[in-house]
Symmetry: C2
Subunit: 154 residues, 2 copies
DNA sequence: CTGCCTGCAAACGATTTGCACCAGC
DNA sequence: GCTGGTGCAAATCGTTTGCAGGCAG
C-alpha cells in the first residue's frame, strides 16, 4: 500500500538526524529498523526484546529514550489507550485504528474515506485543530470466537 | 444539552448497583457525585482531592478501585492519551474530544454530525465494531497565545 | 576533540495488591 | 451474619533521571 519501503524510511531517519545535528548511533538505527519491521504496535519492552537479537547490550533506558526522541522528531507515533501500556507505530500518515476491548489489540485501518471528515466548528473554543484520529472500538475475531461474547480470562 | 440531571444519574448508579448486587457505599456515592459535578476530565488524584472535602478519610486506593468499578459498569469512561495520566469523565453517550498537544487539556465536542460516520469495511479483519471516538488534536487558545506557536515550557 | 549518547542503578509516580477490619443488605 | 468494601502499607510496573564513561561527527 502507500507506505514507503524500509530503506526509504531509514534514509528519512538519516536525513532527519543529520538536519538536526543528532548522531545516528547504532542504537538509533536498530530501534528504527526494529519498529519498521513489525506490522503491529509494539510496546517499548516488546521492541527491547526484539532488538536484543541484534544489539544484545542495549539497555531498556536507551530504548525508552530513543522512542521518545523519535516521537519528538515526528518519525513515529505513540499510542495510548486505557488498560494498555504505551505503544508505538512507525506510520505517521493519517490513519485510524480498530481497538479490541478484550485483548487490547490495535489494528490499522486503511480506509481513505475516513481521512476526509470536515473539522467541527470550534470557534467557540478558539482551538486550532491540526489533525484527528478515530478509534473504532469493538471485539476482534479471536476474542469473539474464544469467548462467544461472554467475558474473557483477560 | 441532552445530558441527564445529577439526580437522574445518581438514580442510575443506585439501579446499577442494586441490579448487580453491589453495596452502594458512602464512598461510591461520593465518587460518583464528585465526578458528575465537574465539567472537565479529572484524574483519579484530582477526584481524590475534591472528594476529601466531603469524605475526609477516603483513601486513594478506594478512589482508584471505585473508578475502575464504574468503568466496568459502564457508568463512566476512562480516557488516556500520551503524556498525560488517565482521566475520567461521567459522559457515556458518544461524543468526541479536542486535545491540546501542549497542555494536554481535553475539551468535549458536541457536534452531532460527528456521530453519524459510517463504520469502515472491516470484513477482512472480521472485527465487530461497537462504537468509535474521534480525538481532534491541536492547540488550545491559551497555549497559542502563551507561546505564539513556538515551544512551551511544557 | 567536543558534545551528545549510552548504560547502569536508583528514583519516581501512578496504580495495584495483601490483609485485617468494617459496613451494607 | 455474610459478602463484599474499605483503609493502610507495601509491592509493582512502566518510565524517567543522575552520573561516569564512550562514540559519532
Amino acid at each position: 500500500m502507500g507506505s514507503a519501503s524500509l530503506e526509504e524510511r531509514v534514509k528519512e531517519l538519516e536525513q532527519v538526524c543529520r538536519s538536526r545535528g543528532l548522531p545516528l548511533t547504532i542504537q538509533r538505527r536498530a530501534v528504527f529498523e526494529t519498529i519498521l519491521e513489525r506490522d503491529d504496535h509494539p510496546s517499548a519492552d516488546q521492541i527491547l526484546e526484539q532488538i536484543k537479537e541484534r544489539v544484545p547490550d542495549i539497555s531498556r533506558t536507551t530504548v525508552y529514550r530513543i522512542l521518545d526522541t523519535f516521537v519528538q522528531l515526528g518519525l513515529i507515533t505513540k499510542i495510548c489507550h486505557p488498560r494498555s501500556v504505551a505503544r508505538f507505530e512507525p506510520r505517521i500518515q493519517q490513519h485510524h485504528h480498530l481497538i479490541c476491548m478484550h485483548c487490547e489489540q490495535i489494528i490499522d485501518l486503511e480506509e481513505d474515506r475516513l481521512n476526509g471528515i470536515a473539522y467541527p466548528d470550534v470557534r467557540r473554543h478558539d482551538f486550532q485543530i491540526t489533525d484527528y484520529h478515530i478509534h473504532f472500538r469493538g471485539i476482534c475475531s479471536g476474542c469473539r470466537s474464544r469467548a462467544g461474547g461472554a467475558e474473557l480470562p483477560d
